[in-house]
């Protein structure tokens, strides 16, 4: 019940009272009903579209922030992996570290505990 994808509003108009528009999804354009976001959006904004209706305006600031946080987490994760590997190598009795997946290209999936 959830297939909604982000697209850029490239045109806005009214169709017998119903706010409609054209949304561009990475090179594909479709007519979309903008009734539920009409007060918040202008041409150039991004919206999430589900079955031909815009259901939210994409909060671009939040989107960037999420991505930034994830990127920073990614970098931290690499650092901590390296640190742990160094610790494990230095310690004689170090218990097995949960195996991570390789970060360069596609690696084998981690060993599975059970189904």
């Amino acid at each position: 019940m959830c297939l909604g994808i982000p697209g850029r509003i490239v045109e806005m108009r009214h169709d017998t009272g119903l706010p409609m528009g054209v949304v561009d999804f990475g090179g594909v354009r479709r007519e979309v009903c903008l009734a539920y976001v009409a007060d918040e959006v202008s041409v150039g904004d991004y919206a999430i579209v589900h079955v031909g209706f815009a259901i939210s305006k994409v909060d671009e600031e939040e989107a960037h922030r999420t991505y930034q946080v994830l990127r920073e987490m990614g970098e931290l994760e690499e650092l901590s992996w390296i640190r742990e590997a160094a610790d494990a190598a230095a310690s004689v009795d170090a218990p097995g570290r949960p195996t991570g997946t390789q970060s360069d290209g596609v690696g084998p999936s981690a060993p599975r505990a059970d189904a």
Binding site: I5, F25, G26, V28, R29, V106, P108
Partner: protein
């Protein structure tokens, strides 16, 4: 224009038509007129001009390949081509995937009453152009007319004959462990180009059908790489996923695909996202799958990149020892997902 000299017929048939009528399928004067005015001028060659029941063609010693395909696409015309392009390229490609050089085609048409001539002529023009470019002659044919509503405008069957060459016998059951799996180009264009003009889904895009003659690519592989090419298949309906499953099944090998290696053009990806479709299952009309000796893979890519239809060629996977008959996709996460044959058509999703 009918005259009384042709015998009593009431009402007198009108002499000028702008569309197909049932009478055109009767085998009488109207049929002859249809052939004379629309079909023969486009496919001129010594075989067709004889208008025999069949064509006699010379064949060098060795083996020939015969392949047939029927084309029923609706709408008849779509961005990047029409059913005529498909009818020629489809069968030419089937012959090429067997390793043959395509030489002759037959073309049989089932025309729907009411099909406008201008549409029909555009399709015939496309067929003539495609056949000439592919160096194949349409040497024999047939036309029938059915009642309005019994055909989507037109159904076309082409049967092709090609000539095999020594030492080049790619076959679906010849994949071997370790083989590299190569796609000749980006996927999903044809299916999404047709979807864009189908009622209920209309969207605007630059996506055009990838319908293309792949025989020159195969000929180049034959001369440059030869028997290191084990399997060739054109990925048509059911997409790359179906072609790979067929090969995995026929060869009893496991196939592993790399999610990120499969080339998908941006707009195709976007259209698939919008409708909830997986590009791996979307139809193509100008993409081939090749299973080759891994040592030959770089050379194969070089050869394919020399053609515009092969510009996007890439290695997308490999034959692996495990899971014979099954195609498995390795995701960017390192997870795995089985890429199965679909029971039927892929359906647009909402969830």
């Amino acid at each position: 224009m009918a005259s009384l000299a042709s015998g009593p017929v009431c009402p007198l048939p009108r002499g000028d038509h702008d569309r197909v009528q049932l009478g055109h399928g009767s085998g009488g004067k109207m049929s002859a007129q249809l052939l004379r005015e629309h079909f023969l001028p486009r496919f001129r060659n010594e075989h067709l001009d004889r208008l025999g029941d069949g064509a006699v063609v010379p064949v060098e010693g060795g083996e020939i390949v015969i392949s047939t395909d029927t084309f029923v696409v609706s709408p008849l015309e779509f961005p990047g081509g029409n059913i005529g392009d498909l009818a020629v390229h489809g069968t030419v490609n089937d012959l090429a995937m067997m390793g043959a050089t395509p030489r002759w085609l037959s073309a049989a048409f089932v025309l729907e009453e009411g099909l406008p001539f201008d549409v029909m002529d555009r399709i015939l023009n496309a067929m003539a152009r495609a056949a000439a470019a592919a160096g194949v002659a349409v040497v024999t044919g047939d036309t029938k007319v059915v009642d309005r509503g019994k055909a989507d405008g037109m159904f076309v069957n082409t049967t092709g004959v090609g000539v095999l060459h020594d030492g080049f016998r790619p076959r679906p059951d010849s994949a071997r462990p370790g083989d590299a799996v190569i796609l000749s180009g980006p996927v999903g264009r044809h299916g999404m180009a047709v979807m864009a003009v189908r009622e209920g889904f209309a969207f605007e895009s630059d996506i055009t059908s990838d319908t293309a003659n792949l025989a020159p690519l195969v000929a180049a592989l034959r001369t440059e790489v030869g028997a290191a090419v084990h399997v060739l298949r054109d990925a048509t309906r059911g997409g790359v996923a179906s072609a790979l499953n067929e090969i995995a099944g026929a060869s009893r090998v496991g196939v592993e695909l790399d999610d990120h290696a499969v080339p998908v053009p941006g707009p195709v990806q976007a259209a698939c996202e919008m409708l909830g479709l997986d590009p791996l299952y979307v139809a193509n009309e100008g993409v081939l799958v090749a299973f080759v000796d891994p040592a030959a893979a770089p050379r194969v890519l070089d050869v394919l990149h020399g053609f515009s239809a092969g510009a996007g060629a890439a290695v997308v996977g490999r034959v692996v020892p495990g899971h014979p008959g099954m195609v498995v996709l390795r995701t960017g996460l390192g997870g795995t997902r089985v890429v199965d044959m679909l029971p039927g058509d892929q359906l647009p999703r909402i969830c």
